[in-house]
């Protein structure tokens, strides 16, 4: 008995020693840790934003990915915040404003260059992209009889075929459902979730719900879907691979991403300075060109070429329909309950 109790002491001591390792890493005041999505996105942000800023100020960057909100929550929750900047959705920023992300403090940005719907207390649109509905032109070769509206996507009788969508409830897929059920575009918010699901019920069995953008891209290039909802840059990538997809220009849902500063970031003020730089017209345009997205700054004039130009929903000569921007305020309020409902619906 006695001996056993004595053995516990070194074990407990060792546990405490091991578990306290790793706490107290000194932040480097000259390096901003920047979380994003890797690949072309990281390359784009390096060339358009980071390198010019390093040249101007000497500030260095450490890039990391993926920029998962769950990692921000874990960092803030354990009091060991490593990231200075993270590329996230505005509804995440809205939902956790002040809790997981710092309210933005950007006095030097010219707000007149921005649509007010892109700006909130904790978010400021850095780039935007459409959630495009596109279809396989080999399946429907004649444009006259091919899918032409949002409602066509939700009509498995008129257009039988496999649908693909990324399983991310806030990406605009529910908005499309509501529109297809007859909700007027100007009355989209507050979103009528019931009507959105009514539409999705019709095609649930015909739809492949992909885990992420990359998975759907792979499905599309592999001929696994006939019609899909995919973000614009990835749709262009599918077309670049030679898969015969073409966008439907009816109503297009536009989303945007924002850079946020996680709550308690080691270099908060320097991160804010960098954000002001990123939001300038030239930087906004250059990033869009490099990543196949659209700028948020109205004064930016990007030149999108090839398929990236063909999917540019913000260009009125390409997008012959209309576009609506998803509402981060509404999603920030309702994300959790709608996501729970979606999870139940999907597995029901």
């Amino acid at each position: 008995m006695l001996r056993r109790r004595r053995a516990v002491v070194p074990i407990v001591a060792a546990v405490l020693a091991v578990s306290s390792c790793g706490v107290g890493v000194e932040p480097d005041p000259d390096t901003l840790t920047y979380a994003s999505f890797g690949g072309t996105f990281t390359a784009g942000q390096q060339a358009a934003w980071q390198e010019p800023w390093t040249e101007a100020t000497g500030m260095r960057f450490a890039n990391t990915s993926p920029s998962d909100p769950v990692l921000i929550r874990a960092q803030v929750g354990t009091g060991s915040v490593l990231w200075d900047l993270a590329d996230v959705t505005p509804y995440f920023a809205r939902q956790y404003c002040g809790e997981l992300v710092e309210p933005l403090d950007l006095p030097d940005v010219d707000r007149s260059q921005y649509d007010p719907s892109l700006i909130g207390d904790c978010y400021f649109g850095a780039y935007r992209f459409g959630l495009l509905i596109s279809y396989d032109t080999e399946r429907w070769p004649d444009p006259e009889t091919a899918p032409r509206t949002v409602a066509d996507f939700f009509d498995p009788v008129k257009f039988p075929g496999r649908r693909g969508v990324v399983s991310d409830v806030a990406n605009g897929m529910l908005e499309y459902g509501a529109l297809a059920d007859g909700v007027a575009p100007e009355d989209l918010y507050p979103l009528d979730v019931d009507r959105a699901f009514t539409s999705w019920d019709r095609i649930k069995d015909d739809t492949t719900f992909a885990a992420n953008n990359g998975a759907l891209l792979q499905q599309a290039t592999g001929g696994q879907v006939d019609m899909m909802m995919l973000v614009s840059a990835r749709t262009a990538a599918v077309m670049d691979e030679g898969a015969p997809f073409t966008p439907v220009w009816d109503t297009t849902m536009i989303s945007f991403n924002t850079l946020v500063v996680p709550k308690g970031a080691p270099n908060r003020d320097k991160a804010m300075d960098f954000l002001e730089f990123v939001l300038r017209p030239e930087q906004s345009a250059k990033f869009a060109e490099l990543t196949g997205t659209s700028p948020t700054n109205d004064a930016a004039r990007p030149h999108l070429k090839g398929n990236e130009g063909r999917v540019d929903a913000m260009n009125p000569s390409v997008n012959t329909g209309r576009s609506i921007t998803t509402d981060p305020e509404w999603w920030g309020e309702h994300y959790t309950e709608v996501a729970e409902r979606y999870l139940g619906w999907l597995n029901g």
């Binding site: 001996r3 053995a7 070194p10 074990i11 407990v12 060792a14 546990v15 405490l16 020693a17 091991v18 578990s19 998962d68 909100p69 769950v70 929550r73 929750g77 496999r162 399983s167 649930k204 492949t208 719900f209 992909a210 885990a211 592999g222 001929g223 696994q224 959790t336 996501a339 729970e340 999870l343 139940g344 999907l346 597995n347 029901g348």
Partner: protein, 302 residues
Amino acid sequence: MSAMTTTTRTSPPGAAPRRPRGGRGRGAGALVVPALALMGAAVLLPLFLSFLRSVTEPSPGLSNYAALLTDGVTLTIFSRTVLVAAAVTLATLVIGYPYAYLMTRVGGTARLLMVAAVLVPFWTSMTARNFAWLILEQREGPIDRALQTIGIDGAVLLGSAWGVGLAMTQVMLPFMVLPLYSAMSGIDRKLLLAAQGLGSRPLTAFRRVFLPLSRGGMISGGILVFALSSGFYVTPAILGSPQQSMVAQLLAQRTNQLLDFAAAGALGTVVLVFTLLLVSLAGRFGGSATALGGAVQAKGGR
């Protein structure tokens, strides 16, 4: 390393007899301290914190556990997971048993080839194997085409629980074959001859002598495959679909998308307790030492 700790706990190989009562065991005990400390800090402590969070957030109580029963999703996914895991266990047993049996009956070279056939896929990257299945199972893939030629249209396995089960059976097969083989190779075949000498027909001798003696291997393989399958993430994530989720995917969704660590902790606790219950239950029938011994042996091959 895990093999070491387990052997010292169950039956020390050769030299060292069971720890003497005197002071000589203390040195050996101290050797375990780093391992226990690491386990404590890296596994037990986080596990405990996760459990603690599940009963304290958002308010103290069992609300997260009650939600598992009432949210309408968890039970569906949980029973689907158990069903798939059970089917995979059964399938690996049906395929693995004759295979392991054959391994005990063939000559050295053939046995080596058979072991290699089990171990080579085992050593191949998990992701690579799952992507291979993705190509096999997709629309217009080899399986779909083969089914079309016999008149079955549109039976695409990709994204279905069937497709996940099929691939998981292949992925899990080594975990069944290795414990089975290790149990069977220890069975004295003279017992079968004795049974036949006493008038039993070969099949009866197999059923009444060999089969019961190989039970330990079946149980340890079964536990291993079932436990791994019920918590498996890679195959369901690559070959399944969000509407055919398994528990591990649900856990990922709860943490990554809903950022609900407390609910995820509750779900994780339930899965853990369920698996532990199962292991102890199987231990009743097969003897836990055999079961875990086989498990450790199989895992050592990784």
